[in-house]
């Protein structure tokens, strides 16, 4: 008996605090973060003083710094944009979110918005991040 006792004390490692912490972290990340579809290419959004919350609907149009355009996860050309838009947004036809890189050519972005207008979208939310002024 006296020889066995040290073995007995080593065995049960207490993992309850670890589980507590891990659970708290899990809940934090579940609540605080938001899951969203990953962008088709890396984007660095422009900074703006605007404090407006963007609309929540998922129909998003992407414009990369080099001018590439993507809707609903697939790359499109400027000419095929209207058709791709009609497919991507079927429920809330009047609105669209536009996620463009801050280094993208503004004239290109305006040309894209022009096509969007031709597709019948009345309002565009240009997504920005906070900062600057």
């Amino acid at each position: 008996m006296k020889l066995r006792r040290p073995d007995y004390r080593e065995r049960p490692e207490n993992v309850t605090p670890l589980i507590n912490v891990v659970f708290l972290l899990l809940i934090f990340f579940m609540m605080a973060g938001q899951l969203s579809r990953t962008d088709p290419f890396p984007l660095d959004p422009p900074a703006s003083a605007s404090e407006r919350e963007p609309a929540k609907q998922p129909a998003t149009l992407y414009v990369a710094a080099d001018g590439r355009i993507a809707v609903g996860g697939e790359d499109v050309e400027l000419d095929g944009l209207a058709g791709a838009l009609a497919k991507a947004r079927d429920e809330d036809a009047g609105r669209l979110r536009l996620k463009a890189d801050k280094g993208a050519d503004a004239a290109r972005v305006v040309a894209v918005m022009d096509r969007v207008r031709e597709a019948g979208v009345a309002r565009i939310d240009l997504l920005t991040v906070r900062g600057g002024g």
Binding site: F29, R52, P54, A106, V110, M113, A122, I124
Partner: protein, 144 residues
């Protein structure tokens, strides 16, 4: 009576020890995997937005209201109604426009080669002056 009383707690203790020995390792595995998933998949960027109406075509849809045109040139210059102005001058002029009885619409025309960030800065400037009817104008390509 003492013997049974002593025996009962010891049996309870035994039972407790047996229950604690249920392995927690699979639970921890799953929770860790969930944690890693949520850490990698969730984003913490807080988005803001600028509400915009789609751009107008040159010469279309004026509606009779007065309008001012801000043209952005690649390389940093901008002009207001065809006259080259600096940033401070632009802000002053915009404030005067906003003070008018019927504030004009503001059309912003970025020339090709202007990064979007500059256009957004100018839009910010216009909105800070209190002019709300901002629109982008498509670049007609050269000319003017």
């Amino acid at each position: 009576m003492p013997p049974p009383n002593q025996a009962r707690p010891s049996r309870l203790r035994n039972r407790r020890r047996r229950r604690a020995s249920v392995s927690l390792t699979p639970l921890i595995d799953v929770v860790f995997i969930l944690l890693v998933f949520f850490m990698l998949a969730s984003s913490f960027q807080s988005w803001r937005s600028i509400a915009m109406e789609p751009p107008v075509e040159r010469g279309g849809g004026g509606g009779g209201a007065p309008a001012v045109l801000i043209r952005l040139h690649p390389g940093g210059g901008l002009d207001l109604n065809g006259r080259r102005v600096g940033r401070a001058e632009l802000r002053r002029r915009l404030d005067t426009y906003a003070g008018r009885e019927q504030p004009p619409r503001v059309l912003i025309e970025p020339r090709s080669g202007v990064p979007l960030q500059r256009a957004v800065r100018v839009i910010d400037l216009v909105e800070a002056a209190g002019l709300t009817r901002t629109r982008l104008l498509t670049d007609a390509g050269g000319g003017g």
